[in-house]
Amino acid sequence: MGAGQPGDREWPITMTDRTMIDSKAIDPKTTASKVADPYLSHLELDQPDKTFLDSNELVINMGPQHPATHGVLRVILKLDGEKVLGTECVIGYLHRGVEKIAENRTYTMFNPYVDRMDYVAAVSNGLGYCEAVEKLLNIEAPPRAKYIRVILTELNRMASHQLWLGTHALDIGAMTPLFYTFRDREEILKIFEKYCGARLTTHAFRIGGCQYETYEGFERDVTKFLDFVPPKIDEYEELLTSNRIWLERTKNVGVISRADAIALGVTGPVLRASGVKWDLRKAQPYAAYSDFDFEIPIGANGDTYDRYTVRMEEMRQSLRIIRQAVERIPEGPIMAKVPKVMKPPVGEVYHSIEAPKGELGYFIVSDGSTQPYRVRVRPPSFVNLQALDVMVRGALVADVIAVIGTLDIVLGEVDR
């Protein structure tokens, strides 16, 4: 809105100005980056602007106790009516100092702790940590262990995505998918339970391979699950994919452009939905992923709907990977030769895997002792959550809910 336009200042009511500016800004067709320079993720709460009818802008605390923030996330919303003028995330309510704990435990002892970060995808966390330490020790897990790892990790990806779908749909107001996804997630958890005795925080892998050989009938159970689940995914899609209200609530909502997504370091399905065909399983294969044939689904617009479709397709691709892995699983040992007392040589290593939520990285510094000198976790949820502000500015309150859901954050991982 140029200052040169005559009559611009005749109306002291600022709300209309803002409406026009912001409706332009949320137009997905504008290619300009929405990220301000420098990028501000906080609000200047001290000076509330005056708006229509002399009423101040509303500042609302969404959370930490709020049904739709997926845990103890607190979002301070600055609203003009229903429109979001800005957000600020307040996190740390679940901070447990995982990185500090790591410095006081041996490598093996720290292994179960990583499960408590992203507790809906505990297996992925364990995989990342074990592989990072293996890299540091310069050992490699035997092929059979790698295959077991792939199967369990992909099952966990399914479980994580199912949980995401259920809660996301519930946020948008569709109650029923939640129960359907939980019913099917139960089957995955049953397999976990049979394999390692735990359902959620599995601690399934050890440094150097796997602790447990697959149980009797593991392949049968997994194959049964593979046959059981595709119609269920179709069922979810039937409820949502072409539902008019679902489309209206998700299309062009929370758009994040390709450039913005990269600048904000967003990873995982959120990045892929913005059109970046990047998946660590393909880009820098780890475990046994280079053996399998699968596609990386990507979206075009980077909106909530694309993120939904990308994750739905990812579930199908996961099934594809699991099927190949179960068919080709080699015989052999499941544990590499690992010293009883782990003393990695002095050095540092960064290893990252494609967790269900994005790039999960471990940066481990060893000082040659039995305890890691420093473990840094690069949590995907933490970094993805940072994009919330860009995605919801100018949108409505209801969109904030949809976007928090679609980012698929787990507060245990954000806060660590």
């Binding site: 009559g7 109306w11 026009m20």
Partner: protein
């Protein structure tokens, strides 16, 4: 289908209801102007309007009563409340009410009172019929016939005026359409 009023259908306790509704109207009127909290005023106004609707019913004008409820109590008052809710209540409560206008108010009240007294004195000459014609069943139709027959022009002009008001409001609220 004009219906003959049967003996069994005589209204019950007419006098009581009249005084009850009239008293309610007056009381809520007083509350409207004395409450400092505008929401309470609006609430009192709603009760006043509802009581008035009751009075219309007693005058065998159910359509007018219904319109009173649906438009005034239901529609306009909601908008009133809408606006009042967004105004900073605390500030308006602190303000002195009628600070400079009590003289004008007094004059208006005296004039209105004089009018009432005059009507009361002249009384029956102005209203030749003791009670309204009980035309309950065809009353609504009569209003329709009147509005779209005899007073069609006035009615249409009034709706045109409203249209102008709507467009004006839209233009004022939005710089660019």
């Amino acid at each position: 289908m004009p219906q003959v009023i049967q003996p069994g259908m005589q209204p019950v306790a007419t006098t009581f209801f009249f005084y009850f509704l009239a008293g309610l109207t007056l009381l809520s009127g007083v509350f409207v102007i004395t409450r400092k909290n505008p929401v309470h005023s609006a609430l009192a106004l709603i009760f006043g309007l509802l009581a008035q609707a009751g009075l219309y019913l007693m005058l065998y004008a159910p359509f007018v009563a219904g319109v009173q409820i649906i438009l005034y109590a239901g529609g306009i008052m909601v908008l009133f409340l809408f606006v009042i809710m967004l105004v900073n209540i605390e500030r308006s409560q602190r303000e002195e009410q009628f600070n400079k206008q009590w003289l004008v108010g007094l004059l208006a009240a005296i004039a209105l009172g004089g009018l009432f007294v005059m009507v009361y004195v002249k009384g029956k000459a102005l209203f030749p019929y003791p009670i309204a014609q009980p035309l309950e069943n065809s009353n609504t139709q009569q209003i329709g016939v009147m509005l779209y027959g005899q007073y069609m022009f006035a009615f249409e002009i009034a709706s045109l005026l409203l249209l102008v008001a709507i467009i004006g409001a839209v233009v004022m609220a939005k710089k660019r359409i």
